[in-house]
Structure formats: C-alpha cells, structure tokens
C-alpha cells in the first residue's frame, strides 16, 4: 500500500515536471516567435507597402486587389484603399486597382501602365484593371465578366466634374477617376447618378490641390481689399468733410452778403465782408428765418382773395394802370403757385400782396406800392432803406430789421439750409421785388 502511494506520488511529481517543461517551452516558443516576427514584420510591411516589381505587385494583388501607395493616394491612402475595396465588392467580376510607384522592371519602357496591365492579367486572369503609376499615363482595361464596362460613362462623369470643379483650371485626380470607373462598373450600361458624382467630387481627394500661394495670395488680397476699402472711405470721407466744412463756413460768412451770386444782376454787387463800407445795423439771430411750413396754403388764400377783388372791378377801374399792374401780379403769382417750391410759394404770396396793394391804389395815387423786406419777404412791408450788414447794399427792410437785422430767409434743400439770396433764382436776383420796381414782369419773363 505504501509502495503504491509512493508510486502515485512520483507519478504526480513527474506529471507536474512535464507540465512545467511544456509551459516553459510554450512560453519560450511564443517569445522567440514574437521576437522573430517583430524583427521581420517591418521589413515585410515595408515591402508590401512598396512593391518594386511586377511580381511584387502580382503578389500583392493576389492578397489584396487594391494597391495604392502614398505617392498616389491623394493624402489619405488608407481611406482611398478602403473606398475602392468597398466599391469593387459591388462589381460582378474581379477588379484590380494599382496606383503606385513605377515598377523597376518596367521603368524604361513606354506605356508602362498598359504593359503592366497586360502582365497582371496574364498572372491574375480577366477582370477590370485600373493601373496608373507616377510616370503615367493611366490605363483601364476590362476583360471577361467586366468586359461590358463602358468607359464613356466615366469620361462623361469626369467631364461634368471638371466643368464644375473648383478654381480656374480644376484637375481631377487619378484616384477620383479610379473611383468613378469602379463605381460605374457596378452598374454597366447605366450612367452614374449626378448626386453620386457630386458627392465624390466634393471629397478632398477629388482634385489636384491648388498652389499654396493661391491661398496665401487670396488671404493677402482679402486684407488688401478690406484695408484698402476702409482707407479709401476714410480718405474720401475726410476730404468730403473738409470740403463740406469749408463750403459751409464760407456760406455762413456770406450770409447777409451780396444779395445773390451774381452781383451785377442784383444791382448790388459783391459784399465786402464783415466791416464793409457804410453804416450798418446789428444782426438778429436766425429765429424767424425759416419759410412757414404752410406757405403754399397761405399764398393760395392770399392769391384767391386778391383775385376775387380784382374780378369785382368795374370796367372803368379795369382801365386804370393799377388794375393792369394788379392783373400782371396775379398772373405772375398764378404762374408760380403750383410748382410746390417753397421759394415760388413765397413769391406767389408777395405777388398777391402786391396785387392787393395795386387794387387799393385804384383812385388813390398817394398809396405807395408794396415793397417787401429784403431780409425776409415774409416780414412786414419795408419802410426804410438801410445798408445791409456786411455788405455795400442799400435795400428796403421792415421796421424790425431796420432796428436789428436778422438772417436772410432760408430755404431747405436736400443737403442743407441756405439763404434765399444764395440761390440762383429770380427771387434772389430781385429780392422778391425789394430790389426791382416790377417783380411781376421779371417773374413772367423768367417763367415764359
């Protein structure tokens, strides 16, 4: 019994030793194998990534029908490879794609891609071959089950892509052509759907990139356009501000000046500026210089009232000179009443006042003619003639302006307000009748 126990014990020890040896052996083999693989694998991977000869390419294609090297991968060789493998899976027949460096054994030959395709076919059999090397040109051949692939489909798609490509001279990549070729082979005889072509054309690998300097130039050009536009507007705005300021300042200095741009026509001549010759009165602020907003209605009411009074004259009264003067003033006022111009409306108002005065003068020779205030014809009637401030003009003014001259009546234009005497109008030339004896005749001649 004791012997049997010892024997069993020895057997267990022996089994344990054998197991240990096996485990150690397995570990050693695993370690040694791994080390050997680690030494060999990079070289093998490198050779696989860079087949140098047609035989290398054949061996690669037997294991993987798509060979793309970084020199032909448009920046993402792995993605290009996977895409073509997926597309090739849908084709009814073998598909081989080679985008690689030129094989050493074919480097000195012409038509290297076509020759390579023929050699590959002799080794691998019929199928669709898309072959292109760095030295080009690419070759597409189809035999056997893929013989009915119509390359015109790819050509038409490429034509469409290039026509709608980015930049001035878009160039489709060989990778895009390979993708379109294999995609078209999946459905022989059918045109490629536009949306599919567009999707491929939008990928970053679809076109040969533009020169880096195009982007640099475009970025710099954007700055030139932005800064140039800003500077141009700054310069133009500064100059315009200066011009407006200078013109405005000059006009302000001339307010109360010559009584019109053309001194000869105003019978007054140019102003002499501040401190000019002759006795002058002080100036009032521009409180009442604006033309009343309802001047058109005021003028029309005044004209209608004068017209009614004129129409009530009898035949004897109509034959008198004041009646003729009134009629002429009413005609002139009517002529300018409907122009919707502020200065014309003031003129119609003044002419209506003159007409009324002429009607009053019928049979009363001692009644003076109506003469408006030169400073502002909307003021009360002029009573005296005084030297206009800052000028050499003597002109009739109302009593208030006699005591303290205000600003000339101003007219609003699109850009600014300015004295009516600064405008090139019959009103400025005549001072609304303050500077001439027969305003109506001047107006009728002006508006013939």
């Amino acid at each position: 019994m004791a012997i049997a126990v010892r024997t069993e014990s020895r057997r267990r020890v022996a089994d344990g030793c054998r197991l240990s040896v096996r485990v150690l052996t397995a570990l050693f083999v695993t370690f040694a194998g791994s080390a050997l693989l680690a030494l060999v694998a990079p070289t093998a991977a490198a050779q696989e990534a860079f087949p140098r000869t047609i035989d290398d390419i054949v061996e690669h294609l037997r294991a993987d029908p798509v060979l793309i090297q970084p020199a032909m991968g448009m920046g993402d060789t792995r993605a290009a490879h996977d895409l073509l493998v997926d597309l090739a899976a849908d084709v009814d027949g073998p598909v081989y794609v080679v985008l690689a460096d030129t094989p050493e054994d074919l480097a000195a030959t012409d038509g290297v891609s076509e020759q390579a395709a023929a050699l590959l076919r002799s080794e691998l059999g019929d199928g669709l071959y898309f072959v292109d090397f760095i030295d080009g040109p690419r070759y597409v051949g189809a035999w056997g089950p893929t013989a009915n692939v119509d390359q015109r489909v790819t050509a038409e798609a490429l034509q469409y892509v290039v026509a709608n490509g980015p930049g001035e001279y878009p160039r489709a990549s060989t990778l895009l052509e390979a993708v379109l070729t294999v995609r078209a082979a999946a459905e022989p005889g059918e045109p490629l759907p536009v949306e599919v072509v567009d999707e491929y054309a939008e990928q970053p690998w679809a076109f040969i990139p533009t020169e880096h300097y195009e982007r640099a130039d475009a970025l710099a050009g954007r700055w030139v356009a932005t800064l140039g536009t800003g500077i141009a507007i700054l310069v133009a705005g500064s100059i315009m501000t200066g011009v407006v300021h200078a013109v405005t300042s000059r006009t302000t200095r001339r307010q109360g000046g010559s009584g019109g741009r053309d001194g000869s026509r105003t019978h007054a001549g140019r102003g002499t500026g501040r401190g000019g010759a002759g006795k002058t009165t002080s100036r009032r602020p521009e409180a009442d210089a604006d033309i009343p907003a309802d001047i058109a209605d005021v003028a029309r009411n005044r004209w209608e009232r004068a017209r009614r009074r004129f129409e009530n004259l009898n035949a004897r009264e109509l034959a008198l000179p004041p009646a003729s003067a009134a009629e002429e003033a009413l005609d002139a006022a009517e002529r300018v009443l409907e122009t919707r111009d502020e200065l014309d409306a003031v003129g119609a108002y003044v002419l209506s006042l003159q007409a009324e005065r002429e009607l009053r003068r019928i049979g009363k020779a001692n009644v003076p003619r109506f003469r408006p205030c030169f400073i502002n014809p909307m003021h009360p009637e002029a009573r005296e003639t005084v030297r206009i401030a800052g000028s050499t003009i003597d002109a009739p003014v109302c009593p208030q302006c006699r005591r303290e001259q205000g600003s000339f009546m101003v007219v609003r234009t699109r850009w600014r307000r300015r004295p009516y005497v600064e405008t090139n109008t019959v009103w400025a030339r005549t001072g609304y009748g303050a500077l001439v004896d027969n305003l109506a005749r001047h107006v009728l001649e002006n508006r013939r």
């Binding site: 920046g75 030139v224 310069v235 705005g237």
Partner: protein, 217 residues
C-alpha cells in the same frame, strides 16, 4: 454737433462697414487650406530624429554610408538642411514638390533649407528663413554641358554651399504677389489713398452739382 465731428463719425462708420463688406465679398474666393497628407506626414515623422527621410520605394538612391554622410552634413549646416528623397508626384495630396516641402517644414516647425530629390531632379524651399541666394541645380542628370552627378554628391555640394550663408528667420508663408505683410499693408494703403482721393473727387463734384442744381430754378 459740428460738421467735422459729424463728418468724421460718419466716415469712420462707413469705413468699418465698407471694410467688413469687402472682407465678406472676398472671403468666398479664398481656397481652403490644403490638408497635410500621409506622404507628407510620413516625411515629417522621419525627419523628427534625422535630417534625411527616404521613401522606401527609392531607398536605393543613397547607400547607408551616403545617408549617414548627408545626415551629418545637414545637421551641422547653418542654416539647417532637411532632405526628403522620393519621386515627384501630382497625386499625393499637394500641388508641387515645393508645396510638400513647405508643408513638411511647417509641420516640423524647424526653419531651414528643405530639399527634395530623386535620381533626376531636385527641389528646394526655404521655410521660416530668408537667406542669401543659393545656387541649386534643378537636375542631376547632366543638364546641358554639366556632367551628371550622384544624388549624394549633389546633396553634399548643396549643403556645403548652404553652410555659413547669411540668413534671417522670417515668415515665408505669406504672399509673394503682395510682398508679405509689409507689402500687403503698403499696397492697401496706396490703393486706399488713391481710390479715396478719386472717390472724394467724384463725391465732391456730385455734391456740388446737386447743390448747384438746387439753386437753378
């Protein structure tokens, strides 16, 4: 508010608006940046610990001894030299080989002279530096009367000529057309001033015309 203050406020506002408008109008014409592709990235990784990167497809162009020689010379050169050995390709995700060198230099972040060569041609690009003129042959296969030279001989010759030349670090990623940052600002200023004067003339004549026209009744 005075004429001056109003005018200048309007002017500044219009200038800002105009500049923003010009920026918006020209932005669609700016191409997207070219992404760094795997070929370039492989070269970048290869040059992190060496001054020479050789693509496996052309590793026969330099022997191990020649590679060590070139690497040592390039590392000792001032300005520094970085060499990429591969065959030129238009299908690798960049425009031309010079563009690939610019991308490699930018990714690597080391200013210097970047060279690309194969058995036939050599390309160069200064990245991050502007140096005195350096004569670099464009071909290795005996252009004209010149004898053919081996890649190693050519590289060592170029590196020797490069070593010791005057240079300064500079941003070489700008536009040559507009003359870099300074040229861009100068061009914008010149064009802006000239255009502004012309615009001011037109505006002044128009304004005075409208103003004068308002007087003629």
């Amino acid at each position: 508010m005075s004429t001056w203050r109003t005018g200048m406020l309007v002017t500044v506002a219009a200038a800002v608006a105009g500049g923003a408008g010009a920026w918006a109008l020209t932005t669609p014409g700016v191409p997207d940046p070219i992404p760094v592709g795997d070929r370039v990235q492989a070269a970048v990784e290869g040059l992190r610990d060496s001054h020479v990167y050789i693509e496996p497809a052309v590793d026969e162009l330099l022997t191990a001894e020649e590679r060590a020689q070139v690497d040592a010379a390039a590392a000792a050169s001032d300005p520094g030299v970085y060499v990429v050995v591969w065959r030129p390709s238009a299908q690798a995700g960049y425009y031309l080989e010079g563009e690939a060198l610019a991308q490699i230099g930018a990714e690597l972040g080391r200013p210097g002279l970047y060279l690309r060569l194969d058995a036939n041609e050599i390309d160069s690009r200064e990245v991050g530096i502007e140096g005195d003129y350096l004569s670099i042959p464009s071909r290795l296969d005996g252009d004209g009367d010149e004898p053919a030279a081996s890649p190693a001989e050519t590289l060592l010759s170029v590196i020797s000529d490069n070593d010791g030349r005057e240079y300064r670090e500079a941003d070489t990623s700008g536009s040559d057309y507009w003359g870099g940052t300074g040229g861009t600002i100068a061009a914008a200023s010149l064009l802006g001033v000239l255009a502004g004067m012309g615009l001011a003339l037109v505006m002044a004549l128009g304004w005075l015309g409208v103003r004068g026209g308002g007087r003629k009744r």
